[in-house]
């Protein structure tokens, strides 16, 4: 498999949000605006790349019986690291995402990639896979956040274009998240995945 394909695979064919339907909880909960979706995506990307690399490096020596606990400990370490760094250097982003940062530990995408890819491939390939899937997740979350922000608050990346602040509020709340996700999924599978 070419290195380039490793990345595009995560973006399109194995897009974690629109195709694999993994990590739905942060997807639905944090995408109230494009910026929130983007930051959540980047946070997951960071953890995904590092944990993929670490796990592919240690996988050969980890006995099968304990591989899940070992992977979870590694992932949790990176997530906590990220949490501390965000708390220290980007407190405002940390506040918005709050609870969902520690929840990256149990994000199926991260453990899924560790199990399905990183444990069977080299460090470089795993890093590329992490970048691909992470970017796919980031892109999906940003698009979803953008759509919800445009419809729900009438703004783009925080820039308000309708004046006043009365958008269609339902789109900022949970029902709107499901609706937008559903329609985006349809569009994605119809147009992007096919080509």
């Amino acid at each position: 498999m070419s290195k380039f394909k490793l990345i595009t695979d995560g973006l399109v064919r194995n897009n974690p949000t629109f195709v694999l339907l993994l990590g739905m909880c942060p997807t639905l909960a944090t995408t109230t605006s494009a910026v929130n979706g983007l930051s959540m995506g980047l946070a997951t990307l960071f953890v995904l790349v590092l944990s993929n690399m670490a796990i592919s490096a240690i996988a050969p020596v980890v006995p099968d019986k304990v591989h899940i606990p070992v992977y979870i400990v590694v992932i949790a370490t990176f997530v906590t690291l990220l949490q501390l760094l965000m708390q220290a250097y980007t407190p405002s982003v940390y506040e918005t995402l709050g609870l969902f940062i520690p929840l990256i530990v149990v994000n199926c995408i991260v453990l899924g990639r560790a199990e399905a890819f990183a444990s069977k491939h080299g460090v470089l390939d795993s890093a590329l896979d992490g970048i691909g899937v992470g970017l796919g997740f980031t892109l999906s979350l940003t698009v979803l956040g953008l759509v919800r922000e445009v419809l729900g608050s009438g703004s783009v990346f925080g820039w308000n274009f309708i004046g006043g602040n009365d958008g269609m509020l339902a789109f900022v709340m949970a029902p709107g998240a499901f609706l937008c996700l559903g329609y985006l999924m349809v569009l994605f599978n119809k147009f992007v995945k096919k080509s």
Partner: protein, 185 residues
């Protein structure tokens, strides 16, 4: 098996321990900066703010900061007041000048609905009414309940909670003044 698991845990905890020590100071600094910014926002200009202290009202501890001008005269108190909002705890910093007038308020943390109750921290239509809110002239309940607080559209519960938080802060303020008088005698 035990060795691998043990080593992994040991290594991970070492990394986290190191990261904790390294980020401890920036985290504390960020939190302190946030607090001092909130105090500066809710009170008229002052020279020096006291350390965080507590005053007890209704059996609850209210953290507060006293602000003094260059002559060491009391400018007012910034009081942290926490109530239950619509989606969870709503914590405000309420600045009250020594004339017992609310100078300004600032939301420290909230979990209100985005687009509705969350406007309590940003929408100037709602937030500006707290600047110079004088509880001796205006009634501290939302208009729906016969008061003078303009509620956020479709977020009466959040607005009520906000008014209650300000009211509690005023009660804490009265308690502080009482304590102050006692110590002066």
């Amino acid at each position: 098996m035990v060795l691998v698991l043990g080593l992994t845990c040991l290594l991970c905890s070492a990394v986290l321990g190191g990261a904790y020590v390294l980020t401890k100071e920036p985290i504390a600094a960020a939190a302190a900066q946030k607090t001092s910014r909130a105090i500066a926002q809710v009170l008229p200009s002052f020279e020096k703010a006291s350390e965080r202290d507590f005053v007890q009202v209704y059996g609850k501890d209210f953290p507060y900061y006293a602000a003094f001008d260059a002559q060491g005269k009391l400018v007012g108190y910034a009081i942290e007041s926490s109530v239950v909002g619509f989606g969870g705890p709503l914590t405000l910093m309420v600045g009250i000048t020594f004339q017992r007038v609310v100078c300004n308020t600032s939301v420290l943390s909230h979990s209100e609905t985005p687009g509705l109750g969350a406007k309590c921290s940003a929408d100037p239509k709602f937030t500006s009414q707290w600047q110079g809110f004088d509880p001796s002239v205006k009634k501290l309940t939302v208009t729906k309940d016969g008061g003078d607080v303009d509620a956020i559209t479709a977020s009466t519960i959040t607005s009520r909670a906000y008014a209650l938080a300000v009211e509690n802060a005023l009660a804490a303020f009265d308690e502080l003044l009482k304590e102050k008088e006692v110590s002066h005698e």
